[in-house]
Symmetry: C2
Subunit: 394 residues, 2 copies
């Protein structure tokens, strides 16, 4: 009688959410400092100081009717122009303001993109492990999710499997690099090879290359580059968010950038505008549009995440864990010490460690450890990680 799929989605708690609720209860029981919660991808670092300064300046100097008023549906023209210029300078693209569509964050960027390009039954290929909401977004837009496993032990792209998975129904490939949950960053060679394959296989039925980039700014070694997909492929769509780079996940601000090199650009961009309209987005929050138009090149202090990563990675390796080395994002994908990662995560709770089984991310046998926590939490949790590992050695 009601929309069953919406009701089901509203009732099923993700395992991340369940763990979060368990953690709240447990913290109330034994004290917050005694529970080591590595379950949630909520930035733990303050926004850069320019965020508060700029918000305050906007509130003190702008006409308040204009500041809080509707922008055009695509977003404020000046902001979009600034972002286009910055992207061109940074990546050598030739984008203009009308390639950008401001959104309420990356989730909105993705639902808008998929509702623009998909027809019922169209296939979207993703690589496991992947952020579980992708499936929800794609299926709601009428698409079918095709999951390919990454290469064992590295989670880089398995091109042989990809060759086989592309069919005339393939409408898009979605990547997320740096990856949630593995922290893997695809290399330039991989992106080149992917683009090349898409070009070959995209003759009668164009395939779109969609990149979900909330973690673009979160890479920890100067040798690691995150290739910009528009430099390799014309049918590119970039879904960006400032949630993690500026530590503003609750404010819902990001954009879709459509590559103007594709011949059907005008239709794809119109599809983005139309999908945003039909889904009820109206415009992205205006104050935060103005903000990112001014602090677009700032980030939170990423050195803390890097220090967290190094401390946790080195310790886990020394305790005997197998860990996918994370080049970016703030997650570590750790091999469970028994086949069933749910049982492993359950056993971790005995040591007050909250970690997420990898099954939800489409890859069995691993757990996700979010290290966007205070360095002190990691330091204090290390004995628990050691004890957990030791419990399997008995």
């Amino acid at each position: 009688m009601l929309n069953e799929s919406s009701v089901a989605l509203g009732k099923v708690r993700s395992s991340i959410r369940e763990l979060f609720e368990y953690g709240k209860k447990r913290k109330a029981e034994i004290g917050e400092e005694n529970v080591f919660d590595f379950s949630i991808g909520n930035p733990s670092i303050e926004p850069p100081k320019e965020v508060r300064e700029t918000l305050t300046e906007l509130l003190n100097t702008c006409n308040q009717v204009d500041l809080h008023g509707y922008t055009s549906a695509q977003g404020d023209y000046g902001v979009r122009k600034t972002l286009a210029d910055y992207t061109n300078e940074r990546f050598g693209t030739s984008l203009n303001a009308d390639c950008f569509y401001m959104t309420c964050g990356a989730a909105a960027s993705l639902t808008i993109t998929f509702n623009a390009i998909l027809n019922p039954g169209d296939e979207v290929i993703l690589f496991a492990p992947y952020f579980p909401e992708y499936k929800v977004f794609i299926e709601k837009a009428g698409g079918k999710v095709i999951v390919l496993q990454g290469l064992p032990g590295s989670y880089h792209i398995d091109f042989a499997a990809l060759e086989q998975a592309i069919t005339p129904k393939t409408k898009a490939i979605l990547i997320n690099s740096p990856n949630n949950p593995s922290g893997v960053v695809y290399t330039e060679d991989e992106i080149k090879r992917l683009a090349c394959l898409l070009k070959c296989r995209s003759t009668d039925n164009p395939i779109y290359f969609v990149s979900d980039e909330p973690y673009r700014e979160l890479v920890y070694d100067s040798s690691i580059k995150v290739p910009y997909i528009m430099n390799y492929y014309d049918r590119s769509i970039v879904c960006y968010s400032y949630s993690k780079s500026l530590s503003l996940p609750g404010e819902r601000i990001g954009y879709v950038a459509v590559d103007n090199k594709m011949e059907e650009f005008a239709d794809v961009y119109a599809g983005v505008c139309g999908a945003g309209r039909a889904l009820g987005f109206v415009c992205a929050p205006s104050l935060f549009q103005m903000l990112v138009g001014k602090v677009y090149d700032k980030t939170s202090d990423m050195s803390i995440y890097k220090a967290n990563r190094d401390m946790l990675y080195d310790a886990l390796i020394s305790y005997g864990y197998e860990v996918i080395h994370p080049d970016g994002a703030f997650y570590m994908f750790v091999k469970a010490m028994e086949e069933d990662s749910k049982a492993f995560a359950e056993r971790a709770k005995q040591y007050e460690l909250l970690i997420v089984p990898g099954d939800d991310f489409g890859s069995k046998g691993y757990v996700r450890v979010s290290y966007c926590v205070s360095p002190d939490t990691i330091r204090r949790a290390l004995p628990a990680f050691k004890a957990l590992a030791d419990s399997y050695k008995k």
Copy 2:
């Protein structure tokens, strides 16, 4: 190949939007002060001073990680509790925090509601004149729009037509009172009669009563009450927005309130949560959630809209126009002086008056005049309105 319906929606400009673009061009040609733009429903009054004060206080006193962090998907618990308490105090309901779901504004409230309750082919009844995006939202959610004309000359509800229009496929009735574009406010008797009819006809197939309430606070006479639908009908869903009451349309903040008196409450609320998730909303903007949790009972200075209404209404009547008397919102629905309202709006342009033909709102023969402009604009536009009327008397 792309999603045709999204592409089409992105390409078709609404007539409001077209007029807006024409106005921009014309203002550049002859000077801003010489074009009388009554086309857009963008609040012209500053937000109440508490908005800037509270935003500044939140930025200066809160932990910035928490302030800008994810809230739960339904919205911050404290904010929802505050809104439930306030609603109970104001309307005598018995709602709790978990009846509220914070949204990115009324458009999101509506798309989320319809994606929660509709299955393909379900019918939603609306009363013309109506806000044209309703059709876009309902059709995207798989529903079919059934438009009923209001009573001629008053645009109140035609119950005889409604009796006939309800079928076993009717899933919801959507009202918007105070109404955009007519300013009509339904009386308590009308809401009672509507509720009574819905109860009778809602036996095997429950019918939901959905109220879109962005204009609830915009009524101009103490004798005018806007009945709260939950007081008359159990299967009520209220879609609220702070866009107009706090002059924050660009910030996208509102809520869905689901009546806990309906027996299937848990499923409907779960459907709302699931729809919000699948459409990509994640959570409503966090800073503005915190804001409305503190200024929920404030409004912009509505006396300016009232003065505008009185000045414009009295003048138009004296010039010989037929006008639906607006009890609320900031629109006036004026009878065109020729059969074709598009031709009438076109002729108005000769007098530099920008007004919107009513056809888009589902009612022919009228134009919409938005009086959310400065009183000075109205004052200076009056001779043009007079000249337009006189041009039909020759």
